[in-house]
């Protein structure tokens, strides 16, 4: 029993099904006895199949009457079959239109898909029970599963379902045999469309139900016009960029990156998804010693690329250490950690950052302008995730405009460019590809990778911390 309520805020309008009305009009035209598709009673072996039409006739009619070419007509015909307006007599499970002599028949309007009403589960249960009555064991595996599910879920209605199934079965028996066959075919076709067998695509898939009927014309009331007005005003207020400018940026991006796109240019040594050989991933690991040439080239494109690549960032760090200006990057990294870290650790992180970078006389004091410094320090009183955003952006810009270009001209970068390897492209034969496929192995457990990362971080933190002079001298004295 369906639960009904007066104030039903349910979403029950199906979107994207408004094409059904138009399809219906076409089907009515199609079956017109004078101008429609020519059908006849086909003779097959001993039996006569009443009023069937062939696939090629359908395609020919669509091509002529709707002025399409053959491929489009076939696609349109397949749509008709998929929606259930025409059903195949041979191979009833596959809802495709074959443009040959295979036979189809029109579905009776009772079984047409209608936008307003979905095919109900109660009806499906009755149908399955009917088939079970007709011949035991004829249900497919997925139908049996559905039967069991429905039996469990509609248990309280089961008496009704069985009784109705029996009565419908007997009512069907009262008809002539040929009509019985036709009716059973139609019912079966209907349920193939609305309860498709698994791993088939259903044309009835439409996503979520909507709250408002998409077919109904919206009344142009005062509210409607008010809404349209607000929408248009907001659209005008949005900031605009000239299309020449944005297109120019797009073109620039594409020319820079086009050699790095694995879809356009085959990646070296070989695309692991295609050849099952993962040397590409091994060579491009975040902690690899010697990066590939393509990777190093990417670092020169923009500062953002450099920072995002862990290997690039490490290289940049080495450069900064030589220049004794590592505090900028350290601050930037600390701010990132604050942004992405847990809420619980935020206050202690903020403390640490203030002591290390922002306090006057701090060991790694960063050089930002007075206004930003004032804002940040004030914000630190009530710290939140993005409290260091202004300072972080400033530092980023500093590094980008100044340090980055020095890095690109530095011996560090030039050296790594020389050292970078350019792997030779693989050339696998079919047999080797098969072998690769068989030798696929899972990669390192991500937990282990994460643990390694944590260890590295700890080591780096210890190394970057302020050097304890006393301990250093003590160790030196000891040696003496």
């Amino acid at each position: 029993m369906t639960v009904r309520s007066d104030r039903d805020h349910g979403q029950r309008y199906r979107p994207r099904m408004s094409c059904l009305k138009k399809v219906e009009a076409t089907v009515v035209q199609m079956q017109d006895p004078s101008t429609g598709v020519k059908g006849a009673n086909q003779k097959l072996n001993v039996t006569t199949i009443p009023h069937a039409i062939t696939g090629q006739d359908i395609v020919a009619w669509i091509t002529k009457n709707m002025n399409m070419d053959n491929d489009e007509a076939q696609a349109f015909g397949t749509m008709l079959v998929a929606f259930g307006y025409i059903y195949p007599l041979q191979d009833h499970k596959k809802l495709v239109l074959r443009p040959d002599g295979s036979l189809y028949r029109f579905q009776t309007p009772y079984f047409w898909p209608v936008q307003k009403w979905k095919a109900e589960d109660t009806d499906y249960a009755i149908y399955l029970a009917k088939r079970n009555i007709r011949k035991k064991g004829v249900l497919d595996a997925y139908e049996q599963e559905e039967y069991n599910k429905l039996h469990k879920w509609m248990n309280h209605k089961w008496d009704f379902i069985v009784m109705q199934a029996k009565e419908q079965y007997h009512a069907g028996k009262a008809r002539q045999k040929a009509d019985r066959v036709v009716f059973d075919c139609k019912e079966r076709a209907y349920w193939i469309v609305h309860r498709p067998p698994p791993q088939t695509h259903s044309a009835m898939d439409y996503g979520l139900d909507r709250h408002i009927d998409p077919n109904a014309e919206e009344k142009k009331t005062y509210d409607y016009y008010r809404r349209i007005n607000i929408y248009t005003q907001q659209a005008i207020m949005r900031s605009r960029v000239k299309s020449s400018v944005s297109l120019g940026a797009l073109v620039k991006y594409m020319t820079t990156f086009k050699n790095h796109d694995p879809f356009l240019v085959p990646c070296l040594p070989s695309n692991p998804w295609q050849t099952d050989d993962d040397s590409y991933w091994e060579l491009n690991k975040p902690d690899v010693e010697i990066p590939t040439k393509m990777r190093v080239e990417r670092w020169s494109f923009s500062f953002y690329e450099l920072l995002n690549d862990p290997r690039g960032r490490a290289d940049f760090k080495i450069f900064l250490k030589k220049e004794f200006s590592g505090e900028n990057l350290a601050f930037w990294e600390a701010a990132e950690e604050l942004k992405w870290g847990t809420a619980a650790s935020m206050s202690e992180k903020v403390e640490h950052i203030f002591k290390t970078f922002l306090a006057p006389g701090a060991p790694r004091w960063i050089n930002i302008d007075g206004r930003t410094m004032g804002l940040t320090v004030k914000g630190l009183e009530h710290p939140h995730r993005y409290v260091l955003d202004a300072a972080q952006t400033h530092i980023f810009m500093l590094m980008k405009k100044d340090t980055f270009y020095r890095y690109l001209k530095s011996p560090v970068y030039k050296e790594i460019q020389k050292k970078a390897i350019s792997p030779a492209p693989h050339d696998f034969s079919e047999a080797q590809l098969q072998q690769n496929m068989r030798n696929r192995r899972p990669s390192i457990n991500p937990i282990i990778t994460w643990q390694k990362e944590q260890e590295e971080k700890a080591k780096a933190a210890a190394a970057a911390g302020p050097v304890d002079i006393k301990k250093l001298m003590a160790s030196k004295l000891d040696r003496k």
């Binding site: 079956q31 009023h51 007599l89 028949r105 579905q107 309007p109 039996h151 209605k157 089961w158 009262a174």
Partner: protein
């Protein structure tokens, strides 16, 4: 009044009423099933004023049974006390009649829409009827429905409404039933087990039906055995929206 105090007459009356309701329910099932069979011919080449008349008659019969059954069952349920023996039976009937009414109402709505889409007022409307392959009419089905008799002896004169009002009337009936009777629907246990219904057909019927299944399987004209949906040689997908074609 506890059951010890109910007189024999009262118990017998109640039993009779419950049996009446059960038979009415069976009759209603029969009529709605016939109605559905006939409704499937609507809009097809077998459609005609004859079919529509038959549909109307069947609907009238169904309406008679419905209203009588509804009234009787309602009174049974209202005067039911705790711990009655036939409580389960009556509740089961209750669920069945609710489901039947809903089912019937769905069919009625479909019939209404179909009759609007395929009006038969003019001669040229007949061209719009879909040639669905039916050869014979549904007169046997209609006869079957007409044979159903209301099981109560008294003749009640209730005016039978037209299609639109009938749908609305069922809505009202259902509302009323929900409001006046407080029965949790999911607590009703059915008497039928799963999968059992296939066992009880007679042998003759079974044979005929097996050949029915065979007739339905039209011999597949052997085409090139593409397991995919289109003729592309790489298409292993059995789906409709293959992008390879």
């Amino acid at each position: 009044m506890s059951r010890w105090r109910q007189s024999v007459v009262e118990i017998q009356t109640r039993k009779r009423q419950v049996n009446e309701c059960e038979r009415a329910q069976a009759a209603l099932s029969k009529v709605t099933a016939c109605f559905q069979q006939m409704a499937t011919s609507l809009g097809s080449n077998m459609d005609g004023s004859f079919l529509r008349e038959e549909l109307e008659e069947t609907r009238t019969v169904a309406h008679k049974i419905c209203s009588g059954l509804h009234r009787r069952l309602l009174s049974l349920l209202i005067e039911m006390e705790q711990g009655q023996e036939d409580k389960e039976q009556v509740e089961r009937l209750w669920v069945m009649i609710l489901s039947s009414l809903e089912n019937f109402q769905r069919d009625l709505k479909k019939v209404k829409v179909l009759q609007e889409i395929f009006p038969l007022t003019q001669r040229k409307d007949r061209q719009a009827l879909i040639n669905a392959g039916y050869a014979g009419g549904t007169s046997e089905v209609a006869a079957r429905a007409a044979m159903v008799q209301t099981p109560w002896l008294s003749v009640e004169e209730t005016a039978s409404p037209d299609l639109k009002n009938h749908i609305v009337e069922i809505d009202v009936l259902l509302e009323e039933m929900f409001q006046r009777v407080n029965v949790p629907l999911w607590s009703v246990e059915p008497t039928q087990e799963a999968w059992v219904e296939g066992v009880s057909t007679q042998d003759g019927g079974q044979e005929e039906d097996e050949s029915l299944e065979d007739i339905m399987e039209v011999e597949v004209v052997s085409q090139n055995s593409t397991s995919g949906c289109c003729n592309h040689h790489n298409c292993k997908v059995g789906c409709l929206l293959c992008l390879l074609s």
